[in-house]
């Protein structure tokens, strides 16, 4: 009676290809279609330098979207990713420029600050039972204000920290393969995505992330300390936002304390376009990356085409809807 088919078949990294490589390949199709469309429309689009520019443009939003994916899979939502990123950038600025810490320590401080703030959100959600929307909306405002307070409402420059701007702008890959000067920021995004994928697919933390989003009460009644795990997931997401803060600070070679509002919607949009369900329990990092790329290609392509700003917005909105619709329709067909 038992059908022990493919016990031996290794399950691939769940985070990356949970719901079947096939489907992800299909989600990929919207991205390819956009790339082809823009290439035809403008000869300037398909240049190496522009492709790298698109990847570079994906890096910050991609990292934030990865953070948001984790929280969304638990069935929550994180509106604070954008201002938390800024807050961490400011912390890095304070640590490196004002306190003169060594580079690595300053970076670590920023990431730790991110994880700590994530832990706060997680505590609000898990222990105080505040709906994630409100908890992270509150955090978004608090962090926005604190960034201004701590920085004295002025940008903090990293001129005294040589090499800081190389974190995002330098290119280790380019040093090895000069033809492919992919900036480190992009490399970091992929490393973060790989790590998050691994955590989601292969570790207890990841398994509980999905389980919490699927049925939190059932998990609790299985003797799991759901509150503690949820807090860990939010802290992890916060730490990833900290990496995002480092990336943006390094790219701008300064911590801009007023930035970050509105980034949360873009990040969440990337997550949802990537096929992660806002009701929790399912989602993939690969999908999120594709979602972030779709957004970046769209924005870049329309700008390269010099479409009037107001029409850029209209077209972006329409294509987001269409991309998700196409994905839905294909999934339905795929069963």
């Amino acid at each position: 009676m038992i059908t022990a088919t493919d016990i031996e078949k290794k399950k691939p990294l769940a985070g990356l290809s949970e719901s079947g490589a096939y489907q992800k390949l299909l989600a990929f199709a919207s991205l390819i279609a956009l790339l082809i469309g823009f290439s035809i429309a403008s000869p300037n689009f398909m240049q190496t330098s522009n492709m790298i520019a698109i990847l570079q443009a994906t890096s910050v939003n991609g990292v934030l979207a990865v953070a948001a994916t984790l929280v969304i899979i638990t069935g929550g939502i994180d509106l604070s990713v954008g201002t938390l990123m800024t807050f961490c950038a400011v912390i890095a600025g304070v640590a490196l420029t004002y306190l003169g810490m060594p580079l690595l320590l300053g970076v670590a401080a920023a990431i730790a600050a991110g994880a700590l703030c994530g832990l706060c959100s997680g505590t609000f959600v898990a222990k105080m039972k505040i709906p994630p929307f409100i908890a992270t909306l509150g955090m978004m405002l608090i962090l926005k204000g604190l960034s201004l307070v701590i920085s004295g409402t002025r940008p903090i420059y990293f001129n005294d920290t040589p090499g800081f701007d190389q974190i995002s702008r330098g290119s280790l890959i380019g040093e090895v393969f000069p033809a492919l000067p992919i900036p480190n920021g992009v490399l970091i995004l992929f490393l973060v995505a790989l790590a998050a994928s691994y955590i989601l697919g292969r570790t207890v933390l990841g398994r509980y992330t999905f389980a919490l989003g699927s049925n939190e009460e059932a998990v609790r009644l299985s003797g799991v300390n759901t509150d503690a795990w949820k807090m860990r997931i939010y802290a992890l997401a916060g730490g990833i936002c900290g990496i995002g803060g480092i990336l943006i600070a390094s790219r701008l070679n300064s911590a801009q304390p007023a930035l970050g509002l509105g980034y949360e919607l873009e990040a969440i949009a990337a997550v949802v376009i990537g096929g992660t369900s806002l009701s929790g329990g399912r989602g993939t990092i690969l999908g999120t990356l594709i979602g972030a790329l779709i957004m970046a290609v769209l924005t870049n392509g329309l700008r390269v085409l010099s479409v009037a700003q107001e029409w850029q917005t209209v077209v972006t909105g329409a294509i987001i809807i269409l991309a998700v619709y196409a994905d839905m329709a294909r999934r339905k067909k795929a069963g």
Partner: protein, 289 residues
């Protein structure tokens, strides 16, 4: 008795507004008055600014400084203030009404025109240029864009403004916008960035793409912009006198609250600065970090 003068501005976090604020605080110290300085998150939030004005009125101020996002929208509240005998000092841009007793402002359109003249001069009177603007609908955004574009159209027939794109004054977005513009127009000669965030974004984008020989003209100051000018990345920039605007606004408000005569228009002026004159005392005084 405590003299309270609220300033309702168009923005808050941007360095330009922070410089206005510091000028205002300087004057407040000198004249021994209390001020508050507030502005919405971005220059589209007309109604939020009205709410701020309403809250300011509730505190029975002696005078109000006001940089209107939209003059018309504020008229009922301005009338209310007028009826209560609270003088209004307009700053940054004027208010289409005879209620404000004084206006401390820069002519943004003329300043952007000057940027166009400098651009034309530096690229040799011909070629393609682009504008990275900070806002499509706000008064400052429109005036600077149109001031630049119109001057080019009027005076320099061989220069073409190939595109105007908007980065919301967000450094990162302006960077991406710049890179897209350069991708689409590899033969570009110059870019004008209409505020600090836009100008820095242009510099960033050019740096990241490694484009050379491009003339960048910026607007406002700030440390990054000053550094870019000193290092030659940026040819030069227009600066207003934000500290002066803030200072003059409070000064006029104090005078008006005492019933003294104040000038109807206080032109705080604008300047073009580049590596050659950036350290001149006259220029250095109006720049901020």
């Amino acid at each position: 008795e405590d003299v309270y003068i609220p300033l309702v501005s168009k923005g808050f976090q941007h360095q330009f507004w922070q410089a206005v604020k510091s000028g205002a605080e300087q004057a407040a110290d000198e004249y021994g008055v209390t001020i508050t300085f507030e502005g919405p998150d971005n220059e589209t939030m007309v109604d939020r600014q009205i709410d701020m004005l309403a809250a300011a009125l509730a505190n029975n101020p002696k005078a109000i400084g006001f940089a209107a996002l939209d003059s018309q929208a504020a008229i009922p509240l301005l009338k209310q203030a007028n009826d209560k005998g609270i003088p209004i000092i307009a700053f940054d841009s004027g208010v289409d009404s005879d209620i404000p007793v004084s206006t401390a402002t820069t002519d943004n359109a003329a300043a952007a025109g000057l940027a166009a003249d400098k651009m034309a001069e530096l690229i040799g009177g011909k070629g393609k240029v682009a504008v990275v603007a900070h806002d499509q609908t706000s008064r400052t955004g429109i005036d600077r864009r149109d001031g630049f574009v119109n001057r080019i159209a009027e005076k320099y027939p061989d220069i073409e403004v190939v595109t105007v794109q908007y980065g919301q004054g967000d450094h990162l977005k302006s960077t991406e916008v710049t890179k897209a513009i350069l991708t689409a127009n590899p033969d570009l000669s110059g870019i004008f960035g209409t505020n600090e965030g836009s100008a820095i974004g242009v510099v960033n984008g050019v740096q990241e793409l490694g484009t050379e020989g491009l003339v960048i003209i910026g607007y406002d100051s700030g440390k990054a912009q000053k550094d870019a000018i000193k290092s030659g990345l940026m040819a030069g920039a227009i600066t207003q006198n934000p500290v002066g605007i803030g200072y003059e606004t409070v000064k006029a408000a104090v005078a008006a609250s005492k019933g003294e005569e104040v000038p109807a228009l206080i032109d705080t002026g604008f300047y073009y600065y580049d590596a050659s004159n950036i350290d001149d005392p006259e220029i250095a005084a109006v720049l901020y970090d």
